[in-house]
Symmetry: C2
Subunit: 131 residues, 2 copies
């Protein structure tokens, strides 16, 4: 058994785009993504999970997360837990002083392999921030 694994994602300032880390780490129960979202940019579509719980951790910048009909403001230090079954989308505000840097962790009541692909995508519905 490999007791541990290590990867290097760089300083927060160096993050760009979205990187999923669980594969690099060989994680079995924890999914994790490292994200940099430019001002005015955001999720390309809504998504929900049928079994996975997610926690969003915002480290820099300002934004918002839409969860169903609700909008929650995001800034450095905001943490949001989203339960399975909730449709969500994230964006960085157009006037954010910096790209929004955030981490998303996810896990279910089984291993990631046991849960499998549990995401539902909605590529049709408009975002609350759409014109």
């Amino acid at each position: 058994m490999s007791g541990y694994s290590v990867t290097q994602i760089g300083t927060i300032d160096s993050w760009t785009g979205k990187s999923f880390i669980e594969g690099d780490l060989g994680a079995e129960n924890l999914g994790i993504s490292i994200n940099a979202t430019e001002p005015g940019e955001g999720s390309p579509f809504w998504h929900s999970h049928s079994r996975l719980e997610e926690i969003y951790i915002v480290l820099d910048g300002t934004g918002e997360i839409a969860i169903g009909d609700d909008i929650v403001p995001l800034s450095a230090g905001t943490m949001v837990r989203v339960a399975p079954g909730s449709m969500l989308a994230v964006r960085c505000l157009p006037d954010s002083p910096a790209p929004m840097k955030w981490i998303c962790v996810r896990s279910g009541d089984d291993s990631l392999a046991g849960v499998g692909k549990d995401a539902t995508l909605d590529k049709e519905s408009p975002f609350p921030w759409s014109a």
Copy 2:
């Protein structure tokens, strides 16, 4: 069903000590702690988990994690996955330019309640950085 919950942990600069967040968020599958470790300080004891996987995410400062007989250097951007069964301890280096700011997430192949208290503590063995 509550679809989501929100808490505010403040900017990284404001973190002090160790704060467990899963209770505030009502998380069911994900455990998460937010940590600030002063230079020269570290874990008060070794610990391992029998079922929970952990991922350590270092955001600032320099340190090291001991996993069994191995020592892995830590700096901003280092991520370490520790498998169940591995004894570990963490410290911030005495000459770290800043307190080490880090996040630990943990999860098992069942809900947190289903896994229960799975930690083993070792308060006797010396750390590799002990004189």
